[in-house]
Symmetry: C2
Subunit: 466 residues, 2 copies
């Protein structure tokens, strides 16, 4: 779109009614999955499957055509092959439908012929004032409204403050499932924009900037059409809430690959970098970093300073944390005398107390719960410590009640961000710990570097506001 209109985008997340054109009775088909997702997510309004002669699909009465519906739906999901899309758009225009998601590929993403098809579809949309998400878009996910238009089956997701969006369909498919089964942070909105013939990155950014439910925004882009407008909106949104920005197409070979899968022309990375540098957005290097940081922002309070306390079951964790702290703008402050005295009480007399704190001797002397609890609790009480990282190796011998440990820290210092590092160890136990921690809102990472990087991003955001 050329003019951002937040009100218009609202219906992609909170429609009063939805029609699934091309809904299918056959499990595994896209038209079946879309309908199943909407039902599974618990969308509250009317859902109209449209498919001639289908009768009933997943227990919902189906309609023979769009103009047979009892009302004009707020949102149409066009689960049709590309060649039937223009005709459907004409029906939408005639009925007064204003919002359409087009999942089909084979438009500007595959070359000149597809580009002509896309232009024909968009010409109808423009004339009728229809806002299009796509083509080649698998649409939106909005746990709070129960909407999930993905053509990949999803389980109901946890509602929360993190919005993720961009060109790729991965957000509403693999990434959504990964968040649901592994990362467990709460989602406000997901949007997959595909070819961006209609809604583009800037439109969604503007919308999410005003969305009260969204506290942090993760954007993946392969290149924007109007860099100046994007940068201007980015600056205004990033002043209100953290925006994590992942840009691909950083190399010539990357840009060629982008051109061949969405038809977008990704500009030189230097120009893009120059435009966004002053905006306050946080640039991340890859998908792992995007999700790592989104999780921290989504689960934890912002730090009041850059001082991190580290407790670790292994000296290695201490060294790695200390080594990377500066790279992420963080420091490991020396604790005050009172803190050192309290830490020392948990340690054998010959082990010096310090930050980072090697907890091994305290565990040997006092057991896991008391060892971790007393040393970390003392560090967290120190005014120079603004965030705390606890590093574990998850082995069968671990007797620590990790939920009680972090719960105690949360209760004592709800204002200080926490992170767990589950470094190597048993894969199954690690998964269980990770999920248990996520339930109480503590993010966990596989290495000290990734935990410190996420805290560093939070501090970067906080300090830019000061």
């Amino acid at each position: 779109m050329q003019e951002g209109d937040p009100v218009t985008l609202e219906k992609f997340f909170y429609p009063d009614s939805v029609a699934v054109v091309g809904a299918s009775r056959t499990p595994g088909k896209a038209g079946h999955i879309v309908l199943a997702n909407i039902l599974e997510f618990g969308f509250g309004g009317p859902v109209y499957p449209v498919n001639p002669g289908a009768g009933e699909i997943l227990g919902v009465p189906a309609y023979d055509s769009l103009d047979a519906l009892p009302t004009v739906p707020d949102l149409v999901i066009a689960v049709l092959p590309r060649e039937h899309t223009e005709a459907l758009m004409r029906q939408c225009a005639a009925l007064g439908v204003k919002h359409v998601i087009i999942p089909a590929a084979g438009f500007s993403d595959v070359g000149p012929e597809g580009r002509r098809l896309e232009e024909a579809v968009m010409a109808v949309a423009r004339e009728a004032g229809i806002t299009v998400m796509g083509p080649n878009s698998i649409g939106t996910v909005c746990p709070s409204s129960g909407l999930a238009t993905s053509i990949v089956s999803l389980d109901r997701m946890r509602s929360g403050g993190v919005a993720l969006y961009g060109q790729t369909g991965m957000f509403a498919s693999g990434v959504a499932r990964w968040i649901d089964t592994s990362e467990r942070f709460g989602i406000s909105k997901i949007a997959c924009l595909g070819n961006k013939a209609g809604v583009d990155e800037t439109d969604v950014l503007e919308y999410l900037g005003s969305d009260a439910e969204t506290s942090v925004i993760g954007v993946y882009t392969e290149g924007v059409r109007d860099g100046r407008r994007f940068a201007s909106v980015l600056g205004s949104v990033a002043a209100r809430k953290p925006v994590l920005l992942l840009k691909s197409g950083r190399t010539e070979q990357g840009r060629k690959a982008i051109a061949s899968h969405t038809g977008a022309l990704a500009g030189a990375d230097e120009i893009f970098a120059g435009l966004v540098r002053q905006t306050g957005a946080i640039r991340v290097g890859d998908f792992e970093e995007l999700l790592d940081c989104a999780k921290a922002f989504g689960m934890q309070p912002l730090p009041a300073g850059n001082g991190v306390g580290v407790v670790s079951i292994t000296g290695l964790g201490c060294v790695l944390s200390a080594d990377c702290a500066g790279r992420f703008g963080l420091a490991l402050p020396q604790p005050g005398e009172q803190t050192l005295k309290r830490m020392g009480e948990a340690l054998p007399s010959w082990v010096p107390a310090s930050n980072p704190a090697d907890i091994w001797a305290a565990i040997e002397a006092r057991g896991a719960d008391a060892g971790y609890g007393s040393v970390a609790g003392s560090l967290a009480d120190d005014p120079a410590v603004h965030a705390l990282v606890a590093i574990f190796t998850v082995i069968p011998e671990s007797s620590l009640d990790v939920v009680a440990f972090f719960g105690g820290l949360q209760q004592a210092h709800p204002e200080k961000p926490l992170a767990a590092v589950l470094m190597t160890g048993d894969a199954d136990i690690r998964s269980r710990w990770k999920r248990s921690l996520a339930e109480i809102g503590v993010p966990s990472y596989p290495t000290p570097e990734r935990a410190m990087r996420a805290l560093g991003a939070m501090w970067q955001y906080t300090s830019a506001l000061q």
Copy 2:
């Protein structure tokens, strides 16, 4: 040690007999776990638990003291508090024991008093010609001899070509368990050197350089005592087999943390970097990269060139792979005409064939097995393609037989390295895929970047040899 002596180190991995001094009947105690590990790993020679009055431990007859054993053991594991270590060393000296592992901490790792204790222990060792691993060392793991001296319980590990060693005890605890439960590559040797009062990084490197079982070596170091000797051995070993080198203490804060946990003085990173630059060793940035690369080297053949073929279920995978290829010294060559023609046969007419190949349309048209199989098979046959990366999003709808897919590629091109990317998706299914792939020797990674980085390390090694 000042003089490297490979024959001497042999007994830390292949002793004829082992004594566990401080063996314990109490599950959970270090002296119990060490014995249990050796039994679990299936060590073939005699194992002598030593503990006065214990009678029998884990079904093995225990001895009251070291001098009550029927033979002089090749290797003694001293599971004793630090204050009893010097006395034990005197017993070892009197009996003619030549190899001792000292797990106890509290020596030079904790300050002046500990340093004096360590010096006293080492003085006895030097005089008696005893080679010491430690103190603060949890020793070795050698699946092919059934030895595992760790104080953390381990399951029997898969035997293979990867050696990992360094100061940290993580290798024989958390990392070993992570490899066993998640990464599943085969191990030749693990050694955890602790305070390095005796055996140091250079000694082990020299030994592993001549070890026929070891095909790739991963070293973690916080700083070496004699940089020139280390660099000289590194150059000689790296000319014969790949050496992955992870060095911490890269920042001032990191060096302080090192000093406080092993007492080692880590020199300035620039000096170290200068010494190892010309050696041909591959420097890695963190533990994830170390294990990622070790897995690739351990499981796959070396590539004959830098051309990578990429097939991906998502356009995102294509873009990210292409974007990072150059950074890792790799290229995504345009396939030959014959290859393009064969790839095109699996695709709808409107989808152009290319490398990286977005496989989505081929799957829609021909199903997962035929879609992936024909496009990847054609790419792998191309002479410009020296390695193949296949990118998946592991969702419940995935019907692909991933083991048959990679098995086919391995059979057709046993000379070309393969890697799987299991990008987001369902956590449990992803774990299952990862394990199944590891069983057939295919390494998998969570992002395209990490797969390309590992292949890049292999190409870096191969090209340096040319």
